[in-house]
């Protein structure tokens, strides 16, 4: 996702964060929570600028970035004091947002990425749910694998934390069985996953989407969130997808330089490395956390550690992603390099700024430190010889955290300093590269990696983050309880709805049929459990 030219309006009265004296007890650089919240508030209250149109087909992703970030920055109820400001998303807002998310659910399972492709239900009249043959209106409301994970994460993130009982019911209304069946149908013969099912004239029903490690990760996350431990033959049991084939596909995607790619023949990429690693950990992750400790203990996946062909090599590749970030020279000699804010274009040309030899670099760093008191900045790239980008700090950090090596292998001080000093924008949020304006994607991943680092500077400011499921630790607990509740309600006979809900649902169906007025019962109703 490239939102480099996102134009964000500059808020009045925003000086350089350095000049702000709001938190004098903390030394610069620090996470300016106030400004970040203001940035996210702007994203909630006003429509996003036109530049986000390219994300129109997956608005749930944008919603996930927004709600996840706000949750990360909102202390859990137990840690709130009278001085804590009111949460940015109120309990009432959460209820409405929850309904909005559920509105994206496809009648056959899964979620559609944008409400602009949610079709009125009558459009499913001709779809045969038993044979799944294509008398279905073509593409009508295509459920998408990415959107489905974001929808489930959003439902959990929108849990009312002040009401335990309500939090347990966040998955109420989710078509668990339908979604898991649909998920299985997205798996290709080679074990990989596509993003959606589609009909192509002359090709029949096919699995659309590239050969992309992201879909593989997402499949394992949806499976972990919804599947549970229902025994075969019990109500709510769904045949699992071929986890072995998936694992085989993932393991085959390790590249000659020991990273991971979208598939075995492409270039190693940190985003895909994260997906590959996180997917393997989710395949054998226990369904409930053993200790609800505040410090995230990543699941030490036996599968992950036993199956990767070259594990030390993978760690080597991940450890090669950080590099010393040197500022490019300012555009003209008269510009003061200390106050000049770098523009995106300045960075384009010399995309690799390291001096030719290691001793040149050492010399340069020594000079910088002695003359200007500057400390080393460590940035992350996503591929060998590529430029610094906020999100790769997350992808690499997340991958290492899943491997259990984050604390040991990353220079946390230097990397954190770079993120806060160079990527944090004065209007709040994080940019893609130094000097670039903030966007939803990078602003979220900047916070996410701070939630992983567990640096003392961010304690009490950012919630601890789960490296496998990409939500705060507390939200993982919500998912675990909500999954149990959903399965329990299915055992009682309802289909993902509790009994009271079903009765009310049936009444509503009768009313709806009457409103339709043609006296017929559409086929899809059966599939929905009515």
């Amino acid at each position: 996702m490239d939102n480099n030219d996102t134009e964000a309006p500059v808020l009045d009265g925003c000086d350089q964060p350095k000049a702000q004296e709001e938190e004098p007890e903390q030394e610069w650089p620090y996470l300016d929570v106030h400004r970040h919240l203001r940035y996210w508030k702007m994203c909630i209250r006003a429509p996003l600028p036109h530049i986000y149109l390219s994300n129109e087909s997956n608005r749930l992703a944008l919603a996930y970035f927004i709600v996840n970030s706000v949750t990360l920055l909102t202390p859990p109820p137990s840690e709130r004091t009278p001085e804590t400001p009111e949460p940015l998303i109120s309990r009432e807002d959460k209820k409405l947002m929850r309904k909005w998310v559920l509105h994206h659910q496809h009648p056959t399972g899964g979620f559609v990425g944008t409400s602009s492709l949610v079709f009125p239900l009558r459009d499913y009249d001709t779809y045969n749910f038993d044979t799944k043959t294509s008398d279905e209106p073509d593409h009508a409301g295509l459920a998408n694998i990415t959107s489905t994970l974001f929808a489930l994460q959003l439902l959990a993130l929108l849990a009312d934390e002040e009401d335990e009982a309500a939090a347990e019911n966040v998955f109420e209304g989710v078509n668990r069985v339908g979604t898991l069946r649909w998920l299985k149908s997205l798996q290709r013969e080679d074990g990989s996953f596509g993003e959606a099912l589609s009909d192509l004239p002359g090709h029949g029903r096919f699995i659309a989407g590239g050969y992309d490690m992201r879909y593989c990760y997402i499949a394992t996350a949806i499976r972990w969130i919804l599947r549970g431990d229902v025994k075969e033959g019990s109500p709510g049991w769904v045949e699992d997808f071929d986890t072995e084939a998936l694992a085989r596909y993932i393991l085959n995607s390790q590249t000659y330089d020991r990273g991971f790619a979208g598939n075995s023949q492409d270039e190693a990429h940190a985003g895909y490395a994260y997906c590959a690693i996180a997917a393997l950990t989710l395949l054998d992750r226990p369904l409930t956390s053993t200790s609800p400790s505040t410090k995230p203990q990543p699941h030490n996946s036996p599968l992950l550690h036993s199956s990767i062909r070259d594990l030390p090599g993978l760690i080597h590749w991940l450890a090669s992603r950080p590099f010393v970030y040197l500022e490019p020279p300012p555009p003209s000699a008269s510009t003061d390099p200390d106050t000049y804010i770098y523009q995106e274009d300045d960075l384009d040309d010399p995309n690799f700024l390291l001096p030719p030899t290691p001793s040149d670099l050492l010399c340069l760093l020594d000079t910088l430190q002695k003359e200007k008191g500057k400390q080393v900045n460590v940035a992350f790239n996503g591929r060998t010889n590529k430029v610094a980008d906020t999100c790769y700090f997350w992808w690499v950090g997340g991958a290492l955290a899943n491997l259990g090596h984050l604390d040991e292998l990353v220079d946390r001080e230097a990397a954190r300093r770079f993120l806060l000093e160079k990527m944090q924008h004065r209007i709040g949020g994080f940019g893609k590269s130094p000097g670039s304006p903030p966007d939803l994607y990078h602003s979220f991943f900047g916070l996410a990696v701070l939630g992983l680092l567990d640096h003392e500077g961010e304690r009490g400011k950012v919630r601890a983050f789960d490296a496998g499921l990409a939500v705060p630790r507390e939200t993982v607990g919500v998912i675990e309880r909500a999954r149990g509740k959903l399965i329990e309600s299915e055992k009682k006979g309802g289909k993902g709805f509790d009994e009271k809900q079903t009765v009310r649902g049936k009444e509503a169906v009768e009313m709806g049929l009457e409103l339709r007025g043609d006296g017929e019962r559409p086929k899809w109703l059966g599939a929905c459990g009515y």
């Binding site: 087909s57 009125p120 004239p201 000659y256």
Partner: protein, 562 residues
């Protein structure tokens, strides 16, 4: 109005007696209106003309008016109030006597009774134009102009309706009642309607600010009822997009629902793609249309080239291209010439687009897939074009990666199913030597560039070579390691890294540890944690080795004992 006839006759009778009412005359002369400049002013003047006492009250205040005028004002108010009521309730409110008295007084003032019922108000009386301005604030001339436009629009709408009805009649095969001939909508009539539609759209936009997008105004989309976008409350991440996009999406929903595949649908997808090329559903629908209509794939690819060049970072375009090639391939697979021709065309385009963005992941990913699909392994041009990219930028890791793929995945000798990190017995030795040499030559150009180092190591593993086979080369970049700060020099940290592995491979842990220690202490401090971890692994391997040796010795002793 029961007293109407009376009122109409009475004034004439009383005219002479009441003209001398001094107050009324004063108030009327005092507010002698100037020529109105705006529509609202004109309305206000008209309103006041029928309410002489109201004008006086507004100017002087009720208490300052004479008794006569006060009475006149009250009667005036009552009259206008009761005039709005139906006759029955009017008579209930005012008895016949009171009614008579009111009319008597009013007639006495000689004012015009039938006037505007409501006081003219800005925005309310004349409404608001598309810019939110009060139409009442228009000058008379401007207002008349607007009025003429409205008449023109109505006339156009009537004609357009006639046309639409004719289209409907033609569809149903109706016969004209008078002439007895079948109704046929001629090309000329369609052309006229097109002109009419554009005029209507322009007028609507001008008058009401209504955006009738391209589609709503187009004859082509006549029969489609768009499905508007609805969203419940609590929506997040709404995007401020143009009305044109919303319109196009509402038509897309409509045609997708009816599963229509037609040239107009193809054009619709193009229209949406021009606004949002990242919409995967639209691309899928486009592919479905092309396949259903049996359109030419090369034509589509040509169109796609332009779109791809205009949207370098787009992912969906490449998936679409992938689908097109999958569909097209069976039609040319048995013709080697056609296949070679197609492969050449594709490569030419890929070279062109990579020259714009040399590390574009989607393009490279498509390229590697294409090589496999079209079997371009033996194609010398493919390797040559990669070499050229590496010559231009020796740090282009995407090009290095593609090189490894085409060299070591060639089904002619590569073992199927072997992972990239696995050794392959069938890879020819001369190929391994050639590639190691190639990488080494590139290392000399920029020793601190990791790409060729990774490549060389990858080739050695694939070609089942010991890393130690390149020890001599590696040592060229490490000078007098551990022989003092002044003496020691490292031209490439990647060399020192590989050297550590070479020593470890040779079970020389001390030397391996020295390499790692120097990396952590001096040459690559930002990865200090990683090098320390490697040192730990080294001691672990050492222990394991000791255990293994111990066990082997023990085993040996047991064997000996037996």
């Amino acid at each position: 109005m029961p007293p109407k006839s009376k009122a109409a006759t009475k004034p004439k009778a009383t005219e002479t007696t009441t003209t001398t009412n001094p107050t009324t005359i004063t108030s009327q002369t005092a507010s002698q209106p100037s020529e109105p400049t705006t529509v609202l002013e004109r309305s206000q003047q008209r309103y006041e003309k029928t309410r002489p006492f109201e004008a006086a009250r507004r100017q002087q205040g009720l208490s300052k008016l004479s008794k006569e005028d006060q009475k006149g004002w009250i009667c005036d108010q009552l009259l206008h109030l009761t005039n709005r009521l139906p006759a029955a309730s009017r008579s209930r409110l005012l008895g016949p006597k009171a009614s008579k008295e009111i009319w008597w007084t009013i007639n006495g003032t000689n004012s015009i009774v039938r006037g505007l019922k409501h006081k003219p108000e800005p925005h309310i009386t004349w409404g608001t134009d598309r810019n939110g301005h009060d139409v009442g604030s228009y000058t008379i001339e401007r207002f008349d102009e607007r009025f003429r436009k409205r008449i023109a629009l109505t006339a156009l709408q009537v004609s357009s309706r006639v046309f639409r009805e004719n289209v409907e009649r033609e569809k149903r095969g109706f016969v004209d009642a008078r002439s007895g001939r079948e109704i046929i909508v001629t090309e000329r009539e369609i052309d006229e309607e097109k002109v009419r539609r554009s005029k209507m759209a322009a007028l609507k936009k001008e008058l009401y600010g209504e955006i009738t997008g391209k589609l709503a105004g187009s004859v082509e989309w006549e029969d489609v009822v768009p499905i508007p976008h609805e969203e419940p409350e609590g929506a997040l991440a709404a995007i401020a997009y143009p009305a044109e996009y919303a319109e196009a999406m509402s038509y897309l929903r409509a045609v997708m629902t009816t599963k229509e595949y037609s040239p107009r649908c193809l054009r619709l997808t193009e229209h949406i793609i021009s606004m949002n090329p990242a919409h995967y559903t639209v691309w899928l629908y486009r592919a479905a249309n092309i396949f259903a209509l049996g359109l030419s794939i090369p034509d589509e690819i040509e169109w796609l080239n332009e779109v791809a060049l205009a949207n370098l970072k787009n992912y969906q375009i490449w998936h679409h291209r992938h689908l097109l090639v999958e569909h097209y391939y069976p039609t040319i697979s048995s013709d080697p010439d056609a296949l070679a021709q197609f492969a050449k065309q594709e490569r030419d385009f890929l070279i062109a687009i990579l020259s714009e963005d040399t590390k574009n992941y989607h393009v490279w990913s498509y390229r590697s897939w294409l090589v496999g699909k079209l079997g371009m392994w033996e194609d010398e041009e493919e390797l040559k074009s990669i070499e050229q990219l590496i010559d231009e930028d020796v740090r282009n890791n995407s090009a290095w990666s593609h090189r490894f793929f085409i060299v070591f995945s060639n089904p002619k000798y590569a073992t199927p199913g072997k992972g990239a990190t696995e050794k392959d017995e069938r890879v020819p030795q001369e190929l391994v030597d050639r590639e190691v040499k190639y990488a080494q030559n590139k290392v000399y150009l920029a020793p601190q560039n990791q790409s060729p180092w990774n490549y060389m190591r990858g080739v050695l593993v694939k070609g089942r070579q010991h890393l130690a086979s390149v020890q001599g080369f590696v040592e060229e970049f490490v000078v007098k390691l551990g022989e003092g700060e002044e003496e020691e020099d490292v031209k490439s940290t990647h060399a020192l890294d590989l050297l550590a592995e070479i020593y470890a491979e040779k079970w020389d842990s001390d030397k391996a540890d020295l390499c790692l220690r120097r990396l952590a202490e001096k040459w690559d401090r930002i990865r200090g944690g990683y090098w320390e971890w490697r040192r730990k692994c080294l001691t672990q391997t050492e222990k394991e080795k000791a255990v293994a040796v111990g066990e082997a010795e023990k085993g040996g002793e047991e064997v000996a004992a037996a």
